[in-house]
């Protein structure tokens, strides 16, 4: 029973911390912490810095340009990056499709796709969800018909995050309709510049454009863009989703947000006293801090298990649930801390370039939009209801 990092881990943490200090000018400090939106240039600058250091792909094998870290190292890196206020990078290329190509792609695919992911020259989006399917990911209706050296693809994807930025989309497509729904699915990479691709923005209640509908209308996709075998796409998707679980708890980010909330509570007043002296608000803060502590230690327990056994397993569902609840409570308390100034809703104010007049304290502008944004945390990646189903079936045998 040893709850602290060992010497090697501490050395690693110090190395990461020094790097973060060195790159401090890239972090957007207060702005990023206050929920302001980053420009693509800002994100790319951080991407390049990590790529240069060889840290852009923490979990990829070293021979493919990855850092080859174990789960604990990945966790330490995340904590330090968030603590230093570094931005979260789009991870559809790095964490999602990259490992799939490494494990199941052919040489041409590795050669073609991995480099631009590492360099940040190509952005990816995930074409899994379809209208009407919700959490039932295997209900794929988008069809791909083989035609010589190509597939002709038609259908529709939805909730496609950053499709409007992306150069490529990895998709699940149906290549066989005669078999069980999981067995007729293939994993296909589609160039977003292909004729027949239309991206329609979906505005969300936080006033943002992050997700999209993607219409795929007789799009010609070279057959060499098929990953692995035809009709085995569901296996690759499951592999991809299991990778998604690591880091799902969001401990690093939540710790950083909690630290920020603590600062806010010292300045915002209720009835003449700072919230840090208000018994009701403080009780909520304390409960949240303890939830976060329970999540952090449990996450470490799972990471060690993952390190020892290779995979996080279904127990990670409990991390997803509490992790998302904590993210939501953090956003809720931040909104509450803003008091009256949680009421104004000025999405433009979140652009660093906005030069209008702010209402209330700096953190307040993003507080309520962020509360709305965080509603998604318990919906995407398999809703918390689905996670409980998984726990009941896979862990409890019910």
């Amino acid at each position: 029973m040893q709850l602290t990092y060992d010497e090697d881990q501490i050395a690693f943490r110090d190395e990461v911390r020094a790097f973060m200090a060195d790159k401090a000018q890239l972090a957007l400090g207060e702005d990023a912490r206050h929920g302001m939106h980053l420009t693509k240039d800002e994100v790319i600058a951080w991407h390049k810095a990590l790529a240069e250091r060889g840290w852009i792909a923490p979990k990829w094998p070293v021979e493919h340009g990855g850092a080859g870290w174990d789960p604990i190292q990945v966790h330490i890196f995340d904590e330090e990056a968030f603590a230093a206020g570094m931005p979260r990078l789009p991870n559809f290329g790095l964490n999602y499709v990259g490992p799939v190509v490494i494990h199941f792609g052919d040489d041409w695919q590795k050669e073609r796709f991995l480099g631009p992911i590492l360099s940040g020259d190509e952005f990816w989006c995930q074409g899994f969800s379809e209208p009407g399917a919700g959490s039932d990911l295997a209900a794929v209706g988008t069809r791909a018909q083989r035609d010589g050296d190509n597939y002709i693809v038609s259908g529709q994807k939805t909730w496609t995050t950053q499709a409007h930025w992306a150069d490529w989309m990895f998709t699940l497509v149906r290549t066989d309709r005669e078999v069980k729904k999981q067995e007729g699915i293939s994993f296909l990479l589609i160039d977003m510049k292909s004729p027949g691709i239309t991206v329609r923005p979906i505005m969300t209640l936080d006033g943002e454009h992050q997700v999209n509908e993607v219409f795929i209308d007789d799009v010609v996709v070279p057959a060499k863009n098929l990953v692995g075998e035809e009709n085995k796409g569901w296996d690759y998707a499951k592999f991809l989703l299991s990778n998604e679980r690591t880091g799902i708890a969001g401990v690093g980010q939540s710790k950083s947000e909690f630290a920020r909330l603590k600062m806010i509570a010292k300045t915002e007043k209720r009835r003449g006293k700072p919230l840090s002296e208000d018994p009701l608000f403080q009780a909520k803060m304390a409960e949240l801090e303890l939830e976060l502590k329970a999540l952090e230690i449990t996450n470490l327990r799972m990471l060690i298990e993952e390190k020892d056994k290779g995979a996080p397993g279904p127990i990670s569902s409990i991390l997803k649930i509490k992790g998302s609840e904590i993210q939501q409570t953090l956003a809720t308390l931040t909104m509450e801390a803003a008091g009256t100034y949680a009421a104004p809703f000025i999405p433009d104010a979140l652009d660093a370039s906005w030069n209008g007049e702010p209402a209330g304290p700096a953190f307040a502008a993003a507080a309520t939009p962020y509360y709305f944004y965080r509603r998604k945390a318990s919906i995407y990646g398999g809703s918390n209801e689905i996670q409980r189903n998984i726990i009941a079936k896979q862990l409890l045998g019910l």
Partner: protein, 373 residues
């Protein structure tokens, strides 16, 4: 004991609903929401005024309808159902009640017609920046000059100030009395920073820099301001409570409909027991919230301001919890669809979030409930 609406109240609800159904459907409202210059619909606002709703709470001798809390409850619930962006709360509730409570006959005669016609809407500033919901903390000052009063200070998140012709503000006099003054929004030294609120309605922060108002602009004397503003705030809280109820009802109905039609894993999602129980809890909370709105409405008729405030705060604390539960749960039950702007649910959710924030959040009202016990 009787919980039914009078015939007159039913008529009010129906006529209001009809006006909105025809002139304010989801798409027309969206156009209003996207208008960057005017945060509401002047046409709809005219209709509301012409139908007499702007005078709902004005006394009959001011040509008002002479309605009370029960009528307000009916109207506010309905406005929320139709996601109204019109300045009813700020002008027809807060400004009307303030004029009625605070001003002498001259001022009332002068300003009430503009409120009732909708052409000169008013607004009431309750709070100052950094003071959250503590309206007794007034840093704005009023100094008597030869020509009248000179005001300096700032007011936070003044609902409807974007559209108002005048705004009532509290200010501290020499000797620490706090009184209420009327400020024309086009007066020299008045600066408004207008914005939309979470649910799309307009508001503004207000800065007063050497604003000179005539002697007659002082509506109270002897420091009555806080008592009067408290009563105005209580009316505003009742409005929020009833709006919250209306929005909860709609969010509930949309979700029930969704459960029955949306298919997943080959069956309507309403067949999943967990969602059935969630829906049962939503129904239950909406019913209890309705009871608490009744409780609040009944309290506004009472004479004792402490009891009134005790009840109003208790009701708000309860309803805010119900609103948060219903808002968050209905989004969750809708999944991705629940967070999209193009589906009506998210707009009810935004309204339910706003009603929790305005005029004191749950912690504030729990504290007030205890203080007034």
């Amino acid at each position: 004991m009787d919980f039914t609406l009078t015939e007159e109240q039913v008529l009010i609800r129906e006529s209001l609903s009809k006006a909105f159904q025809t002139d304010y459907d989801f798409d027309k409202r969206r156009a209003v929401l996207e208008d960057a210059a005017t945060f509401h619909s002047p046409a709809m606002w005219s209709t509301i005024a012409e139908s007499g709703f702007t005078g709902l709470l004005a006394p009959e001798d001011s040509d008002g309808f002479g309605g009370g809390a029960a009528e307000l409850m009916v109207v506010a619930e309905e406005l929320a159902r139709h996601l109204s962006l019109e300045p009813f709360l700020s002008s027809a509730v807060m400004a009307v009640r303030l004029l009625d409570l605070a001003s002498d006959a001259t001022e009332r005669t002068l300003r009430m017609p503009g409120l009732l016609s909708g052409e000169q809407p008013g607004a009431v500033a309750l709070y100052e920046p950094g003071e959250r919901y503590a309206m007794e903390n007034v840093a704005t000052t009023a100094v008597e000059t030869g020509e009248g009063w000179r005001l300096n200070g700032a007011k936070a998140v003044v609902i409807g100030a974007d559209a108002a012709a005048w705004i009532a503000v509290s200010a501290k006099l020499e000797g620490d009395d706090v009184d209420i003054f009327v400020v024309e929004t086009d007066a020299n030294g008045v600066k408004r920073n207008p914005y939309r609120l979470v649910d799309g309605r307009g508001a503004a922060d207000l800065e007063l820099k050497d604003v000179v108002v005539p002697l007659s602009a002082r509506l109270t004397s002897g420091g009555d301001a806080v008592a009067i503003l408290s009563e105005v705030e209580d009316w505003a809280v009742l409005t929020m409570a009833a709006e919250s109820l209306g929005a909860m009802e709609c969010a509930k109905d949309l979700t029930l409909e969704y459960l029955k039609t949306r298919q997943q894993f080959g069956q309507p999602i309403g067949s999943f027991q967990v969602l059935q129980h969630d829906m049962a809890n939503i129904l239950s909370e909406v019913e209890y919230a309705r009871s608490m709105v009744y409780w609040a409405a009944a309290a506004m008729a009472g004479d004792d301001p402490i009891t009134r405030r005790h009840t109003i705060s208790g009701a708000k604390a309860y309803i805010d919890k119900a609103a948060r539960f219903v808002a968050e749960k209905t989004v969750q039950m809708h999944g991705g669809v629940g967070v999209t702007d193009e589906y009506a649910l998210s707009h009810y959710v935004k309204r339910l979030t706003l009603t929790q924030i305005l005029f004191g959040d749950r912690d504030e009202h729990l504290t007030r409930f205890l203080e007034t016990a």
